[in-house]
Symmetry: C2
Subunit: 185 residues, 2 copies
């Protein structure tokens, strides 16, 4: 069930339009990090995905990204490092039903020597509509401490390759948000 998919590699990577007038198209580089079915353990009395299990799916997507960056569990034993979640924000945009086939698209927003800022969005498999968005700030940790530690050159190189592939992606809509009640009329 926890398949790592790579829809990007099956795509052309080409797109039309100029940077000042760019729009999302199916040909743009989508990094699909995770695909799953919504299972009975994850839904509420009403057959809808519970809020915490949206995050479990996004959490598995981060695991899959770690694997892509050479930080999977095999490597973790070799390198002794991992990514810890510092902070995250979630927007619930649409209900997701039991049995739905869903996938996570991942966009790298930025990084420094030790931190990775990313955005996951949830979609029906093959669908454009965003069902939920999840902004995450992650910290690279040396498990021997545990203490924060710079990314290795090998990880930075893989990260940079993804960033270059995604350089024409527009910024996600649900990013940098503050929670608050709407202003009174």
């Amino acid at each position: 069930m926890h398949r790592l998919t790579d829809r990007h590699r099956q795509q052309t990577g080409s797109y039309t339009g100029n940077p000042t007038n760019s729009q999302w198209t199916a040909d743009m580089p989508t990094l699909t990090t995770y695909t799953t079915e919504v299972i009975p353990d994850w839904v509420d009395y009403n057959g809808h995905l519970r809020d915490a299990f949206y995050l479990l799916i996004f959490s598995y997507a981060t695991d899959a990204l770690m694997q892509r960056l050479g930080m999977d569990s095999d490597n973790r034993e070799a390198t002794g490092s991992s990514l810890f979640t510092l902070e995250l924000h979630l927007n619930y945009l649409h209900e997701v039903k039991l049995g739905a086939q869903v996938e996570v698209h991942t966009q790298i927003i930025g990084h420094d020597a030790k931190r990775l800022h990313l955005y996951h969005s949830l979609h029906l498999v093959g669908g454009d509509k965003e069902l939920s968005g999840n902004e995450q700030m992650l910290l690279h940790v040396d498990l021997a401490g545990p203490r924060s530690a710079p990314f290795s050159d090998a990880v930075l190189e893989k990260l940079q390759a993804i960033i270059e592939e995604q350089s024409d992606l527009p910024p996600p809509e649900y990013i940098g948000r503050v929670i608050g009640l709407p202003a009174k009329k």
Copy 2:
């Protein structure tokens, strides 16, 4: 395991100090909505609570608050309404280990006719240290639509009683946050 506790009712509700110089004390009104043990299903390879399962614990705390407000599942069938999660923010402050006994404290931040803004914090049972904080914006929904709907007078009355009990609580530290990389030096 999913006990609804009410530590507040066992407390005096009295505190010392004046409003301009108030500090948190054990006598201040803490609303403990949920208590649980960290079970094997919820921890990673390293025996630490996975990010998504912090949120599952907070999600159960919201369920418990609904029960306290007269919106539990028995009433849900009677009233046909529920709370949907619109948006949330999570801060991970400390690791939590397998077998830990933890509790959630809940503070009502505000509400309007249809929305409830609250803050949960996670603690070891009886502990003051905040292990994680979770700001949530919830929407009251008439399940017959489903469509957003005003809270009933009975729910508003219970909500107002909690707000009055908590009027002297300081605002949570991890609220109203925007995710971003630290500014470069």
